[in-house]
């Protein structure tokens, strides 16, 4: 007969299955830790292919670990950690006893702990410039430990899933509380985590397995190289069809990094780690726009924003490789000097430190160059801060300059707010956010008001940007009298900080981007470099945003129509080889100021940031970054109740008993059927 259940089945509900809805509660907004591989290791987390199920246990303190690891009677356990308990010692203890642990979930915190950095103490130590052959006493952070608070959790391998979820402890409190040391009763609340990663061992293995897909029945890639696109722009444009060395060309380069990372996938911000640097450089580029039109300097100035620097300098190593092989508009001999903006957001007082490489300065010409650089800088001392030279023997911090020095001895300086160890207590972690930079807005402000408000952080970074711009101008041989006119615009800086750290979908950013990308700003921009894509149209939102920002800040608005903007070669004065033409939305017309969309002409380009190891096929390379990210099918988490094993076995036993007894009874009835049913009212019936 039809029961209530049958009719509910027939219901064409949007949510598929009502029975499954009674059992499982799907957890939204899961943030997993994924597996990354390089030439020698795999790091990150892995779950089994059908998910890992464990009874939830909320950890109250480190001593409480005893329950899930040894004492608890219902293994495996799924440990729920508050963020302050997410430390190296607890995770290592869990890792050792991982047979009883199904996984770990970390509750998304509201406030930052006092310090937390999951990165290593010596970032990118194997792919920098210091090695056994070059400055061995400076290699591997022998003299200066840059990130002393680093606990290295991001670089550990866990064979259980680790997720970051919003707090949901109701189920635990209802069913799983340990009362007076006695075990809780079934049914217990459990969680299942799915984050099965396809790639194993190291990059060479997974790339080899990728290549096999042509012959397998079920072609599926297992991993993808990390990478994206670098953004670069210059004061005077370069013809992009002329690659390689340019005679009599000496370019002053300015560099900053774009990306950052965290322990969990895709949640990093890098406020101090990267945003402070590239926002400063963007503001400096903007400050240089007008003066370089009025009084152009002798040398060209090239601004480069590198992606993927957190993973063994993907972007900068690629640009150096392209320069060495004549695949870039200039080559290494054309580089006059390099000024890199490191972490500049947390200046104690008003000090800015200049770092340079002591080994390369033993060469006199380089030393003179660097000294000259500093002399210019000292002459530009802003009244409120001083620029301090680091000690003669102090190495370079982790920076893109190191990759340039690996290839050629180039004079270079890294600007930073720290003399030795980072001031950043949350280097490459989820907590390196607006609070880390002390970005504060007065209460009760709308988003638009906050966009325009001049924060203290913005003022501080504006000062740095002014110094950088003036230094670059002088370094490029610009007119000395014009230097004092160079001032960075604090309004631009504060708008950029708001957009990158608080809310990307604001009116200023919307005005800068083309209409087809206006949904790109709906999520907060990803600062993790992610997997490489082949075409610039598919670059990460952050990269494209920086591209459009640089175009807006250094380029010019033209009167071209949309069709002309897409095919500017038809016009006599425009050349798509020299400039890039971008059709952007412009300000939304209101109160009669009809700006509308327009065409921006800028010498801003994207260049691919994929590690040369993948082009060369050297997947076990020691020279280049070999980082890849594993692929996966789906990542989800769900919560449900589990019954005791005894009840399950009882059900099975009852089923088997019913089956056997019905078999026996039926056999009995069928063999004796003609006796049992002999008083049939129709006498002439066939045999049964």
């Amino acid at each position: 007969s039809v029961t209530t259940r049958d009719l509910k089945k027939i219901t064409l509900d949007v949510n598929s299955n009502s029975v499954a809805q009674k059992i499982y509660v799907e957890v939204n907004n899961t943030v997993p830790c994924v597996r990354l591989l390089n030439a020698t290791h795999q790091i990150g987390c892995q779950s089994s292919i059908s998910g890992d199920t464990g009874v939830i246990h909320v950890l109250e303190s480190e001593a409480d670990l005893e329950w899930p690891l040894t004492k608890g009677p219902n293994p495996p356990y799924m440990i729920l950690l508050e963020s302050h308990l997410f430390t190296r010692s607890i995770m290592m203890k869990i890792k050792k006893e991982s047979s009883r642990i199904a996984g770990v979930t970390v509750v998304v915190p509201n406030t930052s702990p006092s310090e937390f950095s999951p990165h290593t103490t010596c970032p990118n130590e194997n792919t920098g410039v210091y090695s056994d052959t070059y400055g061995p006493h400076l290699a591997h952070c022998n003299t200066t430990v840059w990130n002393p608070l680093g606990n290295g959790l991001s670089y550990e391998e866990f064979d259980f899933p680790v997720f970051s979820l919003k707090e949901d402890k109701q189920c635990y409190y209802d069913h799983n509380r340990v009362v007076n040391g006695s075990a809780p009763q079934y049914p217990l609340c459990a969680m299942q985590l799915f984050s099965h990663m396809f790639a194993v061992t190291d990059t060479a293995t997974c790339m080899r397995r990728n290549d096999v897909i042509n012959f397998s029945i079920n072609p599926e890639m297992v991993c993808d190289p990390l990478g994206d696109f670098n953004v670069w722009g210059s004061i005077r444009p370069y013809n992009r069809s002329q690659l390689g060395h340019r005679d009599n060309e000496s370019v002053v380069m300015a560099a900053a990094r774009l990306d950052s990372r965290a322990f969990f996938w895709d949640v990093s911000t890098g406020a101090e780690g990267s945003i402070s640097g590239f926002v400063t450089l963007l503001a400096a580029a903007h400050a240089l726009r007008d003066v370089t039109q009025v009084a152009p300097p002798t040398h060209n100035i090239l601004f480069a924003f590198f992606q993927g620097e957190a993973f063994d300098y993907i972007g900068s190593s690629r640009m150096v490789y392209d320069m060495q092989n004549g695949k870039f508009v200039i080559d290494l001999d054309n580089v006059h000097s390099l000024l890199e903006i490191g972490q500049v957001g947390l200046r104690n007082g008003s000090d800015l430190f200049l770092h340079s490489d002591p080994v390369s300065r033993m060469n006199d010409t380089v030393n003179d160059q660097v000294r000259e650089h500093e002399r210019y800088r000292c002459s530009l001392i802003h009244r409120h801060h001083r620029l301090v030279d680091n000690f003669q023997s102090s190495p370079l911090p982790p920076s893109s300059l190191q990759r340039f020095l690996r290839a050629q001895n180039i004079p270079g300086i890294v600007l930073a707010d720290h003399r030795a160890a980072f001031n950043n207590k949350y280097y490459e972690s989820y907590y390196d956010n607006a609070d880390n930079l002390n970005l504060r807005y007065p209460p009760n402000m709308t988003a638009e008001e906050q966009l325009e408000f001049l924060t203290d952080t913005a003022m501080a970074l504006t000062e740095v940007a002014t110094v950088v711009a003036r230094a670059l101008y002088k370094q490029a041989g610009g007119d000395g009298t014009q230097v004092d006119n160079i001032k960075a615009d604090s309004k631009t800086v504060t708008q950029m900080l708001f957009g990158f750290l608080v809310q990307a979908n604001n009116s200023w950013f919307q005005a800068l981007i083309p209409p087809e990308l206006k949904d790109m700003l709906s999520d907060p921009p990803d600062f993790y470099v992610g997997v490489a894509s082949s075409s610039p149209a598919k670059a990460k939102p952050l990269t494209r945003l920086v591209q459009f920002l640089l175009a807006n800040l250094t380029g010019t608005a033209t009167n071209l129509t949309q069709d002309q903007c897409q095919k500017p070669d038809d016009l006599p004065d425009e050349s798509v080889q020299m400039y890039s033409y971008l059709w952007v939305q412009g300000t939304v017309p209101h109160n009669g100021t009809e700006k509308g969309p327009f065409c921006v002409r800028a010498s801003v380009r994207l260049s691919q940031a994929l590690s040369p190891a993948f082009d060369l096929g050297e997947y076990a390379s020691r020279n280049y970054s070999t980082w890849t990210e594993s692929r996966w099918k789906f990542i989800k988490a769900r919560i449900f109740l589990v019954a005791s094993r005894d009840l399950e076995m009882l059900t099975l036993g009852v089923g088997v008993a019913v089956l056997f007894s019905s078999l026996l009874v039926t056999y009995f009835i069928s063999t004796k059927a003609d006796v049992l049913f002999s008083s049939a009212r129709e006498p002439a019936s066939a045999a049964y």
């Binding site: 007969s1 059900t651 036993g653 019905s662 004796k672 003609d674 049992l676 009212r681 129709e682």
Partner: protein, 258 residues
């Protein structure tokens, strides 16, 4: 809940039906055919009733829960009535088919009697009804979780399996009684079958009070079983003969081949 619960519930729900199929139906191809045809007829009745219900739901007010509940009750009653109608239709079809088979075959007696057809068709209805009742629940019972996080009773899987077993057996008994009543033109028997079917279906509205729905269902099942036993030609005397192993003597006395 895991494989143990899955197999346990499958065996509970389909154990009697499978054993009946194995021992009484599987060897005779004609019975298999009529079993499958019976299952198909049940499926058609379900399709028709679900179509009607779906249309009424679409044109109704989806937000009013009392209206939806009323529609559900209407759907259940309609479905039961349609099933019994299709059972009657199958009976008519089988009568015609039997005459046709008799004309075609060279033997003098019918290859399959109407009682056997009643039993087989009832079991066919039961198989299909049981499958639709319980297969999706079994599919979810394989997963690691059990019902209860939203406060529902933990015994959902077990009670569904037992209910399904009862339904399958009930369909078989109803088939026997129904065909017998149609043969003998006993319309009040038909009415009792239909009303007991309605009663069992409506008892499920008591869920999740599983005791309230399972216990009366099993009582009705036993009563219908007894009635079907009597309709099929059984009696207390025959039962006593079988149980005390005097059946061989009985058969010899009546010269019936084994």
């Amino acid at each position: 809940m895991t494989a143990a619960v899955f197999f346990g519930c499958t065996f509970i729900a389909f154990g009697p039906a499978i054993s009946l199929f194995l021992f009484t139906i599987a060897r005779d191809p004609l019975r298999v055919i009529f079993l499958i045809a019976g299952a198909f007829f049940w499926l058609c009745s379900l399709l028709l009733s679900s179509l009607v219900w779906f249309i009424t739901v679409q044109i109704s007010n989806k937000d009013s829960s009392s209206q939806q509940k009323g529609l559900l009750i209407f759907g259940v009653v309609l479905s039961v009535l349609l099933q019994e109608t299709f059972r009657f239709g199958y009976y008519k079809l089988l009568k015609k088919a039997n005459e046709g088979l008799l004309m075609l075959s060279s033997e003098e007696t019918m290859p399959i009697s109407i009682q056997q057809l009643a039993y087989v068709s009832g079991l066919g209805f039961g198989f299909m009804s049981g499958a639709f009742s319980v297969v999706n629940i079994l599919a979810d019972s394989v997963g690691p979780g059990t019902i209860g996080i939203h406060g529902d009773s933990q015994h959902y899987f077990l009670s569904s399996a037992f209910m399904t077993m009862a339904i399958i057996l009930l369909h078989m008994f109803w088939g026997v009684v129904f065909f017998d009543a149609c043969e003998k033109q006993l319309w009040w028997s038909l009415a009792v079958v239909v009303s007991s079917h309605l009663l069992v279906s409506c008892l499920t509205f008591q869920n999740p009070q599983y005791v309230g729905s399972l216990v009366p269902t099993y009582i009705i099942m036993f009563l219908m079983g007894l009635w079907a036993f009597v309709c099929a030609g059984g009696s207390l005397r025959n039962l006593k003969f079988c149980l005390t192993c005097k059946d061989k003597d009985f058969l010899l006395a009546h010269h019936r081949p084994r």
